[in-house]
C-alpha cells in the first residue's frame, strides 16, 4: 500500500479507494483457501448421502466400503455418538418447536443429500469409490415439498414433534386499526391483495464448504481449519457436540471464497469431520463437491407472502396485513434457528414506508428439502418485493405515478419510530428515489418507455425503495428472542517495536476487503500508513469471542470496535510520548505520520518506533506504574434498534416478444450506506449484490419433485448468471453518517441483493402493463413473459 497518499473526504484514508491489501496474493495464486492446505498424514472424507427425501433408515451397511483399498474408516451416527445440533429461541411452545439436527442421520432421513455416513480414505477419488459402495436401506415415507403437502390434513410429519410441519408460528403485530383501514379503503381508496413467491436459491459461494480437522497433542487441542463466516460459533458448537472444553477446540479460517450467509451457520459435516479426525488421530479434510453444494448445502429464499394493503384515495398506505410462510427445509440451522426468516420479515416488513396499521403472521414451515441458512438479505428481498409490488399495483389502481406514490409514503423525518416498533435513524429515502428517477429521466429512459408500445416494443421501468438494518447489536437481536444472541464485536490492537500494528477483529472477511477497509480505519485513527496495519481474523485464539461476518455488520460493528481499540492505543502512545517529551499528555497529539508531536512545538516529535522502543526494549525508562504493553482491547455493540442504510434501485427492462427473454437495458443504484470507507469496495458490494438479486429475479431456482428430488445437481440446471446476463450497473452514493457507529458507516453488504428482485419484477410487470397479466413469483421464466405477451397479442388481434 505504498504510493501517493490519497486524502479521502473523511480522513486521510477513510473515503479513499485504497488498493486492496488482499489483491497481490489472490492475483498470483498465492492465496490460501482451505483446499490449498495440506497436512502431513492427511486423510480425506466424503459423505454417504440420502437418496430419498423422507424415509426411515432401516440399515446402513458399510462393510463393502471398508473393503475398498485406501479406505481407512467409515462411520455411521451410532459409531460416532455425537451430540445433536439444536438451535433455540426463547419462545413458548405454541410459537416455536425446537427440533434437533443429528450430525449424521440416525433414525430417519429428511432430505435428499442428508449425510448418513462418513467415509475416510487416502484420497478423494478413493473416498468417492467408498461412498458409492455403501448400502443404505430406507423405508420410504411420503415427502413434504410444498405448503399444500405440509399443511394438509394427515400430512406426513418431517419432525414428529412439530405438528402441522410448523417450526415457528408468530403473530408479531396486530395493531389497532387494521380492519378499519381495509373497510375504509374498500370504499374510498383501494385494497391490494397479492400473493408473491420467491424460489429456493443457493447462496452459492464459488468456493464450496470445506474443513480440515486435526488433533494437536502439544496444544491439547483440536485444530479445525474451515471456511466459516462464524469461527467462534463453530468452536462453541463443536465443543458441545464432541463433549469437549471449548478451549480444546481452535477454529481458524484461511482465505474464503465467498459465503453470502451459507457459511454463517455451522455445518454438520464440520462436526463429523472433526469427530473422525479425533478418533483416527489423523488430519482429515473434507471439500464439498458442487453436486453436494447444490443439493445438500444450506439453501435459501423460498417464501410465500400474501400481502393485503389498504390505501386511501390519495395513495397513502393505511394498513398492511401479511401472511408469510417460509419454507425452511428439513432442519433448523445453528445458531439462528428456522425462525430467522419469518421473524426478520415480521419485524421489518413496513420498511421505508409510513404504515399506520400492521398485522402479520409468519410461519416457518419444515419440508423434506435441504435446510436453509440466512442468505444475503434474509427475507428482506422478499418482503421488499411484496411491498414494492404493492406500491406499483396501488399506483396503477389509483392512477398515480409509481414514483409519486412512493414519495407520498416514504419516511422523511428521522428518527422515525414505525408501527413495527423499530426506530429508524436518519437516511435519504426520498433523496435516493429522486436521484434515481432523475437518472432515468435525464437519460431518456422514461421517454423511451412511453413511446415503446407504439413501436411494438415492451419496455418497462421498475423501482425499489428499501432500507436495511445493518448494525444489528445485541439489543436488536434480543428482540427476536434468540437464545444465542449475536451483536457485539471485540478488537485487540498491538503495536510492535517497528511501529507497526496488528489489529484483530471478530468479523470474518470472505471477499469484503476487510484487510483493506479496517486498516484504513485504524490508519486514520492512529495517523499512520495503512501499510503498517495488519488485520488478523479467523482465529478463535486471538480474541475472547467474536460473531463473525453476516448481516452487513463488519464495517458498522467490527469497524467500530477496531476504531475504539485504535483510539485506546493512541491514548497509551500519547501518554508515554508525553512523558518522554517531558510535557503534559494534553500537549501531545498524533502527528498523522506515524508518530506524536508536541502541540505547542511540533518540531518536538517522537515516532511510534521511538515510543515502542522504550516501551518494550527499555521499559525502565517508562514512568513508574505504567505498563510496557502498547496494546488495547475494545468491544463495541450498537445500541437500540441500530442503524439503517438505504437505497433506491431503478431498472429498465425490455421483454422480447419472440422468446419472452427479459433484457435489462439500464440499472441504476443510488445508495446511502453512511460514510463510505472505500468507494471501490462499496461499489463492488453494490454491484455484486445486485447481480445476485438479478440472479434470483430471473435465473436461479431449485425446485423439488413430488418425491422430494431436487431439480438441480449441476450448473447445467442451476442457472448462475454470467457476464452475458448481468448488465453494467451505475452506483451513486449519498452519505448520511450514522451517529450510532464510530465511523459513521452503515454497512453495505446486503443492500444490492435486497433491492434488485423488487425493482426487476416491477420493471417486468411494467413492460407487461398492456397484457393484464401480473407476475408475482421469482424467478420469472421467459415462458411466463411470452405467454402474457402472446395472450395480449391474441386479444388485440381478436378485437381488431
Amino acid at each position: 500500500m505504498t504510493g501517493p497518499r490519497v486524502d479521502g473526504p473523511r480522513g486521510r484514508w477513510v473515503g479513499a479507494s485504497v488498493p486492496r491489501r488482499e489483491d497481490p496474493r489472490l492475483l498470483t495464486g498465492r492465496g490460501r483457501f482451505v483446499d490449498d492446505i495440506r497436512m502431513h498424514g492427511m486423510l480425506h472424507a466424503g459423505f454417504v448421502r440420502a437418496t430419498v427425501a423422507h424415509g426411515r433408515l432401516v440399515g446402513v451397511d458399510l462393510s463393502a466400503v471398508r473393503e475398498i483399498g485406501g479406505v481407512v474408516a467409515a462411520y455411521t451416527a451410532d459409531d460416532l455418538d455425537l451430540g445433536d445440533i439444536v438451535a433455540l429461541l426463547d419462545r413458548p411452545p405454541e410459537e416455536f418447536v425446537p427440533t434437533a439436527m443429528p450430525v449424521l442421520a440416525r433414525d430417519k432421513v429428511r432430505f435428499v443429500g442428508e449425510p448418513v455416513a462418513i467415509v475416510i480414505g487416502c484420497d478423494p477419488y478413493v473416498v468417492e469409490d467408498g461412498v458409492e459402495a455403501a448400502v443404505v436401506d430406507y423405508e420410504p415415507l411420503d415427502a413434504v415439498v410444498s405448503e399444500e403437502t405440509a399443511f394438509a390434513q394427515q400430512a406426513p410429519l418431517v419432525h414428529e414433534e412439530a405438528p402441522g410441519n410448523v417450526l415457528l408460528d408468530v403473530s408479531m403485530f396486530d395493531t389497532p386499526g387494521v380492519d378499519e383501514a381495509f373497510r375504509a379503503a374498500a370504499g374510498d381508496g383501494c385494497v391490494i391483495d397479492l400473493v408473491s413467491r420467491s424460489g429456493r436459491q443457493n447462496a452459492l459461494p464459488l468456493e464450496t464448504r470445506g474443513v480440515i480437522a486435526s488433533w494437536d497433542d502439544r496444544d491439547d487441542q483440536l485444530l479445525v481449519q474451515t471456511c466459516s463466516q462464524v469461527p467462534h460459533q463453530v468452536r462453541t458448537l463443536l465443543a458441545r457436540s464432541l463433549g469437549m472444553q471449548e478451549r480444546s477446540v481452535r477454529v481458524t479460517v484461511p482465505d474464503m471464497g465467498g459465503g453470502f450467509g451459507q457459511k454463517c451457520v455451522v455445518g454438520r459435516e464440520e462436526i463429523a469431520v472433526a469427530a473422525a479426525a479425533r478418533r483416527l488421530d489423523r488430519p482429515v479434510k473434507w471439500i464439498e463437491d458442487r453436486r453436494e453444494a447444490l443439493t445438500a448445502a444450506f439453501l435459501a429464499r423460498e417464501q410465500r407472502y400474501r400481502t393485503r394493503a389498504a390505501f386511501d384515495a390519495e395513495g397513502r398506505i393505511t394498513a398492511v396485513d401479511a401472511d408469510i410462510v417460509c419454507d425452511m427445509g428439513a432442519y433448523s440451522c445453528y445458531p439462528f434457528t428456522a425462525g430467522i426468516e419469518p421473524l426478520m420479515a415480521s419485524a421489518e416488513m413496513p420498511g421505508v414506508y409510513k404504515v399506520p396499521a400492521y398485522r402479520v403472521r409468519a410461519r416457518a414451515m419444515t419440508t423434506n428439502k435441504a435446510p436453509t441458512a440466512p442468505y444475503r438479505g434474509v427475507s428482506r428481498p422478499q418482503y421488499v418485493m411484496a411491498m414494492e409490488r404493492v406500491m406499483d399495483r396501488a399506483a396503477r389502481e389509483l392512477g398515480l405515478d409509481p414514483v409519486e406514490i412512493r414519495r407520498r409514503n416514504l419516511i422523511t423525518e428521522f428518527p422515525y419510530t414505525g408501527i413495527n416498533n423499530v426506530t429508524y435513524d436518519p437516511g435519504t429515502y426520498r433523496e435516493t428515489l429522486d436521484l434515481a428517477e432523475g437518472v432515468l429521466r435525464d437519460e431518456g429512459w422514461c421517454h423511451l418507455r412511453d413511446g415503446a408500445t407504439e413501436q411494438g416494443r415492451h419496455i418497462g421501468i421498475g423501482y425499489s425503495c428499501f432500507s436495511e438494518r445493518t448494525g444489528y447489536g445485541s439489543e436488536a437481536f434480543a428482540k427476536r428472542k434468540m437464545q444465542v444472541v449475536p451483536g457485539f464485536d471485540i478488537s485487540e490492537i498491538r503495536m510492535d517495536t517497528s511501529g507497526s500494528v496488528v489489529v484483530t477483529s471478530g468479523t470474518m472477511n470472505h471477499g469484503q476487503s476487510h484487510e483493506t477497509t479496517l486498516a484504513q480505519i485504524v490508519a486514520d485513527r492512529l495517523g499512520l500508513d495503512p501499510g503498517k496495519v495488519k488485520l488478523r481474523q479467523g482465529d478463535t485464539e486471538r480474541i475472547a469471542y467474536g460473531w463473525g461476518t453476516f448481516a452487513s455488520r463488519s464495517a458498522t460493528i467490527g469497524g467500530s470496535a477496531v476504531s475504539v481499540a485504535a483510539d485506546r492505543l493512541a491514548e497509551v502512545v500519547r501518554t508515554i510520548g508525553a512523558y518522554l517529551l517531558e510535557t503534559r499528555p494534553d500537549n501531545v497529539r498524533l502527528d498523522g505520520a506515524g508518530g506524536v508531536e508536541q502541540v505547542d512545538d511540533p518540531a518536538r516529535r517522537l515516532s511510534f518506533e521511538d515510543i515502542a522502543d522504550v516501551a518494550y526494549l527499555r521499559s525502565h525508562l517508562l514512568p513508574k506504574g505504567s505498563e510496557p504493553a502498547l496494546s488495547a482491547t475494545a468491544s463495541f455493540d450498537v445500541a437500540g434498534d441500530g442503524t439503517f442504510s438505504n437505497a433506491t434501485h431503478a431498472v429498465v427492462v425490455e421483454a422480447d416478444p419472440g422468446t419472452g427473454r427479459i433484457r435489462i437495458l439500464r440499472y441504476a443504484c443510488v445508495e446511502d450506506c453512511g460514510v463510505v470507507i472505500n468507494p471501490k469496495v462499496v461499489d463492488g458490494q453494490c454491484r455484486g449484490g445486485i447481480a445476485q438479486g438479478i440472479a434470483g429475479a430471473l435465473f436461479e431456482e431449485i425446485t423439488y419433485a413430488e418425491n422430494g428430488e431436487p431439480s438441480a445437481a449441476s450448473f447445467i440446471d442451476y442457472l448462475v448468471p454470467t457476464a452475458a446476463e448481468i448488465p453494467d450497473i451505475s452506483v451513486e452514493h449519498l452519505e448520511t453518517p450514522s451517529t450510532l457507529t464510530e465511523n459513521g458507516a452503515k454497512g453495505v453488504g446486503e443492500g444490492g441483493t435486497i433491492g434488485a428482485p423488487a425493482a426487476v419484477l416491477n420493471a417486468i410487470n411494467d413492460a407487461l402493463r398492456h397484457t393484464g397479466v401480473s407476475l408475482e413469483s421469482t424467478p420469472v421464466h421467459p415462458q411466463s413473459v411470452l405467454a402474457a405477451l402472446d395472450s395480449a397479442a391474441q386479444e388485440a388481434s381478436n378485437a381488431s
Binding site: Y125, R291, G658, T659, S711, L719, V720, L786
Partner: protein
C-alpha cells in the same frame, strides 16, 4: 465428483485406435474414445459415464489430416480432431459455409470450444448441438472407420435420438464432410443463459437447390421439418412467408417438456427462431 477408475491408452494412429477398441471390448471391458472430452469428462466426473478403458486420440492430432479444415471443391472437409475454435478462426470456409463459422459463437464458451472437437460433438449427438444441426443443414457425411473398414454415414441417418448415433462403439470418426454449401443460411438459438445448451435452436437455408429447416431441442434428436420446408417452396421469400414457415414448423413438431420450457413454449420458440433465422439467411443473400 471424481471419476471412477479406468485404464488409459494412447492410440498412435487410427488403426491402432480401432484395434484397441476391439481388443478391450473383446476382453469384456467398456472402452471409450476420448478426443476433446468436453462432453465425456463432465459425465465421468459425475460418474454418469464410467468407461473402464479410455483410448486417447490426442496423439492423432499430429496427423494433419485429422485436424485439417479445408474446402474440397463444393465441400467443406473437417478432420476428426479439429476443434470448434479452429473452425471459428479458420479463414478458408468461404461464403457457402459462413454459417458454420458464425454458428461457433453458440457452441459453449471459449475454453470449451478450444478443446472440444467437431466430430466429438456430432458423435455425442445432443439434440441441440449446433454441429448436429449443421450436419443436417449442410448434408454432412460422417466418415467412420472401424474393423470393417471405412463407411460414410449421411447426416440424415446419423441421429437416432437420446445421444444415440449411427457411429458404432468400435468406430472412429476421421472426417466430417459437409457436402452442400449454403450462402443463404443461418443458425440461431435460445438459451436462458449464454453458452448453455439451447432450449431450442434452428438452422435454415434458403437456396436455389432447396430450402432447409432444421430444429434442435424439439425432439430426442435434431430434426428436419419437411412441413416447414414445404411452406418455403410454396411462395416468394419474405417476412410473411418466413412467419408462415415458422408457424408451420411449430405446428408440425411434438416437443418435450422440462424445466427449460413447456412443449408449447418450445413450439413458440421454434416459430420465433425459424422466422428470425430465415430473415437472417435472406439478408445474407439467400434466394430472392
Amino acid at each position: 465428483m471424481k471419476p471412477a477408475a479406468f485404464s488409459y491408452h494412447r492410440a498412435h494412429d487410427v488403426p491402432d485406435a480401432i484395434g484397441l477398441l476391439s481388443e478391450f471390448a473383446d476382453a469384456g471391458e467398456d472402452p471409450k474414445l476420448i478426443a476433446g472430452g468436453q462432453s465425456l469428462v463432465p459425465m465421468m466426473n459425475f460418474r454418469l459415464a464410467r468407461p473402464t478403458a479410455l483410448i486417447d486420440l490426442g496423439t492423432l492430432r499430429r496427423d494433419p489430416g485429422m485436424r485439417s479444415i479445408r474446402r474440397d471443391g463444393a465441400e467443406l472437409v473437417i478432420g476428426g480432431l479439429a476443434t470448434h475454435r479452429e473452425v471459428e478462426l479458420a479463414r478458408c470456409l468461404g461464403p457457402e459455409f459462413e454459417v458454420v463459422s458464425q454458428a461457433m459463437r453458440w457452441v459453449g464458451h471459449l475454453p470449451i470450444r478450444s478443446r472440444g472437437t467437431v466430430a466429438g460433438s456430432i458423435v455425442h449427438g445432443d439434440a441441440t448441438a449446433e454441429w448436429c444441426l449443421l450436419a443436417l443443414l449442410l448434408d454432412a457425411v460422417i466418415v467412420a472407420e472401424g474393423p470393417g473398414g471405412r463407411r460414410q454415414i449421411p447426416a440424415g441417418e446419423m441421429f437416432h435420438g437420446y445421444y444415440a448415433t449411427a457411429v458404432e462403439s468400435d468406430e472412429v470418426v476421421t472426417q466430417v464432410r459437409f457436402t452442400r454449401g449454403a450462402s443463404g443460411a443461418a443458425l440461431t438459438e435460445f438459451a436462458r443463459r449464454h453458452g448453455d445448451f439451447a432450449t431450442v435452436d434452428a438452422a435454415v437455408s434458403l437456396d436455389a437447390d432447396g430450402n432447409r429447416v432444421v430444429l434442435g431441442g424439439v425432439a430426442p434428436a435434431p430434426i428436419r421439418v419437411p412441413e416447414a420446408e414445404a411452406v418455403l417452396a410454396g411462395g416468394p421469400a419474405g417476412p410473411e412467408l418466413f412467419a408462415e414457415c415458422g408457424a408451420a414448423a411449430a405446428e408440425a413438431i411434438d416437443p418435450p417438456e422440462d424445466a427449460a420450457g413447456s412443449a408449447a413454449y418450445r413450439r413458440r420458440l421454434a416459430r420465433t427462431l425459424i422466422t428470425e433465422a430465415l430473415q437472417q439467411a435472406w439478408e445474407k443473400g439467400g434466394r430472392r
